[in-house]
Amino acid sequence: MLDRFGEAVSVVLGALALAYLVYEIDRRKRKLRDLFHVLDGEEADISADLLSMVESGELQPYSREVRA
């Protein structure tokens, strides 16, 4: 009886540990995805806006020389 109970407890604890691990990895990955956001079709309008600012001459390359 005690053996089975102990077994059940260790299975539950193992499952909890695994779930926590998966959750933690997923959370960190989501954080990294937010931090480094890949640009694709969804952000096309944002990038196109920046490009049009460059093409219209509204934005110029930063040209101030940095002292060596």
Binding site: L21, I25, R27, R28, K29, K31, L32, R33, D34, L35, F36, H37, V38, L39, D40, G41, E43, A44, D45, I46, S47, A48, D49, L50, L51, M53, V54, E58, L59, Q60, P61, Y62, S63, E65, V66
Partner: protein
């Protein structure tokens, strides 16, 4: 009886010590270096006690280096910052010169605060994510415009501590510096920066990703 200023107190020392000229004494170097005294056109030496203004040394003209756009840039880097008083803003401002120096071969565009606010107002999903460093891969843009993969954003508004912000900035700088000749930039962003896939999960577990970034 009122005391006279030079009364019975200890006699004041004269400021002028032996060999040290006083305030009003003529500056010897002015006389020595004056053009006349150096055997110039005039034979008359200036009278003693006259201070001659030396001609100011002509300043070297400040060389204005002309900006040469990089010959073969791989990326266009935009910095968008609407001015939230955040740790990331401070970290970015402190390290901007270094970023500029490290990526001289790329095109860098710095949006003013006003332009950044206008831009973010047009794209409201970016509110609170700035300072943003937008990196456009010119090779990808040339190939298929902005409809497919064409770069990445570093959302510096997300980190909460200066250490996290600095690590994100350093990771970005290293990535851009080391992947400018990449053949498949998208895959490298996904594997190296975002740690996607099983391998990424293992790397996160083994703490290969700086903990400060993932937290």
């Amino acid at each position: 009886m009122p005391k006279s200023p030079s009364g019975s107190g200890p006699p004041r020392r004269s400021k002028a010590k032996a060999g040290v000229p006083g305030k009003n004494a003529p500056r010897p170097e002015a006389q020595i270096l004056s053009p006349d005294a150096r055997g110039g056109t005039s034979t008359e030496a200036p009278p003693a006690g006259v201070v001659i203004d030396l001609p100011a040394r002509p300043r070297k003209a400040v060389r204005q280096r002309e900006y040469k756009p990089p010959s073969a840039p791989r990326f266009r880097i935009f910095i968008i910052d609407s001015g939230w008083n955040s740790v990331a803003r401070r970290v970015l401002r402190h390290n901007f010169a270094l970023i500029r120096r490290l990526h001289k071969e790329e095109l860098l565009y710095l949006l003013s605060r006003k332009k950044s606010v206008e831009f973010i107002r047009r794209h409201r999903s970016l509110i609170g994510r700035d300072p943003i460093i937008a990196v456009h891969d010119l090779k990808a843009v040339e190939l298929h415009g902005t409809e497919h993969f064409h770069g990445f954003h570093l959302h510096l508004g997300i980190p909460r501590t200066p250490r996290q912000a600095l690590m994100a900035l350093q990771t970005f700088a290293q990535f851009v510096g080391t992947h400018r000749h990449s053949g498949n930039l998208e895959a490298e962003i996904r594997s190296d920066l975002r740690r996607e896939g099983m391998l990424g999960a293992v790397e996160i577990l083994l703490h290969k990703v700086p903990r400060a970034l993932g937290r």
